[in-house]
């Protein structure tokens, strides 16, 4: 047995994103695995656990991928959980390493994006979506989050400027991150004048679906140190599915049920967190996560946003590489983006601007709107090796 806090994450890898790709998801998985091997210096034979999150592998799943990639593993998991798959993959891999079921687990989130694949994914995303959402205007997540955003704005007095402030700060962070698809600064005026997609959602509130992959390795601290790999420690994690089903509309996520335990087992308070990678599929979700993860009271995020700054040097750095809003949303890779960036920030492997003296980082997972709300909420607290 390996002690829980002796399991670490290392070898953060990003397969550069593109708006569309003629490659399939297997190609992106292969590139991600190759990146993990190169980054760690391990031969393929040393990878004995594999965990994959993807929407576009069909008709394959993780098992077909073992033959595709030529890996022989003794532990395998497949997690098509969208925005939550990164944190959930980390949790599962951590337990596998802890219990000795595997020694080195490769966690990969990868999806391709063909010209029509986004529509096809939406059309067949879930039985509930096909029966009770998609026939109503076929607006996809933009329409679902238009409801949540409109309701949140009305209930708590948030303004478009509040959401704009987050998007603009993230864009500023993205300018220093080489893998971001958006490379131009964003002004409040441009944000406010972005064309309406599904009111109150406008263009710059939306992520751009794209192709790409993210990955990391989970192993024991001793193994990482023997390999000479810089790593981040996993201090605490949580996941919750279908929380608060009685709420008529989603104004809170499952984090509310788990945050005390999350901070408790990490031995820290929210004020000890140096940066947060929110799951920013829409800025309203960043606001909700700030509340539900204890940085302010429910409904106080608009005031919190007005009081804080969010760039890497700001008073509350979020999405330090730009987040999905500025990097792009590569399907299930989006569920890995915040974790991979957190590992980089905490292990001195920055590609984006570093958050000064960062010791603790929080990466949030959220996703799977199979009907009217995101069913998964997850979070992980990582720390620097010496924290």
């Amino acid at each position: 047995m390996v002690a829980h806090d002796d399991v670490v994450v290392t070898a953060p890898v990003t397969v550069p994103y593109s708006r569309y790709s003629v490659r399939n998801a297997h190609w992106f998985c292969a590139q991600a695995l190759a990146g993990l091997l190169q980054s760690s210096g391990l031969p393929k034979s040393e990878i004995d656990g594999l965990c994959v999150g993807s929407f576009t592998l069909a008709p394959d799943s993780a098992i077909g991928l073992t033959q595709h990639l030529g890996v022989t593993v003794r532990w395998l998991d497949y997690l098509p959980l969208g925005g939550a798959c990164g944190v959930v993959a980390l949790r599962r891999a951590l337990r596998a390493v802890q219990s000795g079921d595997a020694e080195v687990v490769a966690c990969i989130g990868a999806d391709t994006n063909h010209v029509d694949s986004f529509r096809q994914t939406l059309e067949s995303f879930s039985v509930f979506a096909r029966d009770a959402v998609f026939p109503y205007g076929s607006g996809g997540p933009n329409a679902s989050f238009a409801f949540l955003t409109a309701y949140y704005m009305r209930l708590y007095g948030a303004t478009r400027e509040d959401f704009g402030k987050i998007c603009i700060a993230q864009r500023d962070n993205a300018l220093a991150y080489p893998n971001a698809l958006f490379k131009k600064p964003l002004s409040m005026r441009e944000y406010l004048e972005g064309r309406v997609i599904a009111d109150p959602i406008h263009l710059f509130d939306c992520v751009m679906p794209c192709a790409g992959a993210e990955g990391f390795l989970v192993m024991s601290r001793r193994r990482a140190e023997n390999l000479g790999l810089p790593y981040a420690r996993v201090r605490s994690t949580c996941e919750r599915h279908n929380a608060f089903p009685e709420d008529p509309i989603q104004m809170r996520g499952g984090w509310v049920l788990d945050r005390d335990r999350l901070y408790g087992s990490a031995g820290i308070e929210p004020c000890d967190v140096d940066f947060v990678q929110t799951y920013d599929d829409y800025p309203v979700m960043s606001a909700m996560q700030i509340e539900d993860l204890g940085f302010c009271e429910k409904g106080a995020a608009p005031e919190f946003i007005r009081r804080h700054t969010f760039t890497t040097e700001g008073s509350f750095p979020i999405n330090t590489c730009g987040g999905q809003l500025s990097v792009g949303q590569a399907g299930c890779a989006a569920g890995f983006l915040g974790l991979v960036e957190s590992i980089r920030q905490l292990s001195g492997r920055n590609l984006a601007r570093p958050v000064p003296n960062a010791r603790f980082g929080l990466a949030v997972g959220y996703g799977m709107i199979t009907y009217d709300r995101g069913l998964c909420s997850a979070a992980a607290i990582l720390s620097r090796a010496d924290a």
């Binding site: 096909r130 026939p135 205007g137 997609i197």
Partner: protein, 414 residues
């Protein structure tokens, strides 16, 4: 109030006719229960027989107690509009062509949160709404949020008109103008705002005072049309088929025989020739052009109405051969519905009980007056339903048939 629907501009004949594209039509088997109810003009949701919990979206087992005993039950639809939006950017061509498209999220008083097409007179959120079900252009049941109180021109809502077949400003063919039903249909549909009504006339040498009076109306034009004659149908389709928006096939032959009361097959053959083969000839003649014009502007081709009979469900032995011909027509109409569905043309079947005409003279009341039948056809068009059972007798037979078709057969053959 809703802005009144105004007469669409005359179409430029040089422009290409927009091809009909249906909205997303794939549904799970469970969800088809919503469509089946909407086809009859009802809003039903699954209710758990064990714990009374109302379910949505449709499912296979109760989301609360897991019982598989879910029954579709009618809902009043009252609820609170939580949020609404206009979808400007849609993933589907159907909605792209019609953007922006208004939708809402409603918490029903009965429990579930539902996503609806939202009538323009609702809201903004928060406000009370009443949810109802309609068939969309894919022929599938969808939910619509309506204002709680009736507003002026409610039926003229742009999105609602996609779900209905309102005769306003449309051109209508009624295949037989000689019967009282045909004449009542023409007058009722003109009163509902139809622009032009062609009424078919077979055997023009036989005079009909009612038809002559009808033809004096400015909206009415007589067309020679004999459903037993393929070339007559082809000719009529050639001259007006490209302009018919609503086709109402009311032509029928009704003889009152069972099997042994009369020798030979002449009468039965004539019934089949009009009631069944007549529909087949019409469908081949007029179907393709109507399909092609199903997305032709705001008042394009929209509906096909068959006058069937409640006897189509279960044979009424004193009218045995007539019942059989209507059952054949019902079966064919289902094939027609399947072929029309991709275009969005709605096939409406009307199942009246005995109509108050000479052929039902020996039957006791209640019998359905021609005017009442015509009214129910126009309401069916306005509501966009698929199956209509007008009159008390039809309603009673339907209830008995739904409960147990085998018992109804026994009752009718007693």
């Amino acid at each position: 109030m809703t802005a009144p629907f105004t007469r669409p501009k005359r179409k430029n004949p040089v422009l290409r006719t927009r091809l009909p594209l249906p909205p997303p039509g794939a549904r799970s088997r469970a969800a088809l229960g919503l469509s089946a109810a909407a086809a009859m003009g009802k809003f039903k949701l699954q209710v758990c027989e064990a714990c009374r919990c109302v379910q949505y979206p449709p499912r296979e087992a109760c989301g609360s107690c897991l019982s598989p005993r879910l029954r579709w039950r009618e809902q009043d639809g009252f609820g609170e509009l939580l949020a609404d939006t206009q979808v400007h950017l849609s993933q589907e061509p159907y909605f792209r062509e019609r953007a922006p498209w208004r939708i809402g999220m409603v918490r029903l008083d009965a429990g579930p949160t539902v996503i609806v097409h939202l009538h323009s007179a609702c809201g903004p959120a928060p406000c009370r709404v009443r949810v109802g079900a309609r068939l969309d252009k894919a022929g599938q049941g969808v939910l619509i949020g309506f204002p709680v109180d009736e507003v002026a021109n409610m039926a003229d809502d742009r999105q609602l008109r996609e779900m209905t077949c309102d005769p306003k400003f449309r051109k209508v063919l009624i295949t037989d103008g000689k019967t009282a039903v045909g004449q009542a249909l023409a007058r009722t549909i003109i009163a509902a705002g139809a622009d032009l009504v062609w009424v078919g006339q077979a055997e023009p040498w036989k005079r009909s005072a009612g038809l002559e009076a009808l033809s004096a109306l400015p909206q009415v034009a007589i067309v020679p049309l004999d459903l037993t004659d393929s070339s007559s149908v082809v000719e009529a389709a050639g001259s007006i088929g490209g302009r018919v928006d609503i086709l109402i096939n009311n032509a029928e032959v009704h003889r009152t025989y069972g099997i042994s009361a009369r020798n030979g097959t002449d009468a039965a053959r004539l019934e089949m020739d009009v009631n069944y083969f007549g529909l087949l000839r019409l469908a081949q003649g007029f179907g393709p052009a109507m399909r092609g014009r199903a997305a032709d502007g705001a008042a394009g081709a929209t509906a096909w109405v068959n006058l069937l009979s409640i006897y189509a469900l279960s044979n009424f032995p004193p009218h045995g051969t007539f019942s059989a011909s209507k059952a054949a027509a019902l079966s064919l109409s289902q094939a027609l519905r399947a072929e029309m569905r991709g275009s969005g043309i709605r096939v409406i079947n009307v199942f009246p009980g005995p109509i108050d005409d000479e052929w039902n003279q020996p039957l006791p009341p209640p019998k359905l007056a021609a005017e009442a039948l015509a009214k129910s056809v126009v309401s069916a068009l306005k509501d966009g339903v698929e199956d209509v059972y007008p009159g008390d007798v039809a309603q009673e037979w339907l209830a008995r048939w739904e409960e147990n078709p085998k018992v109804l057969e026994r009752e009718l053959t007693a």
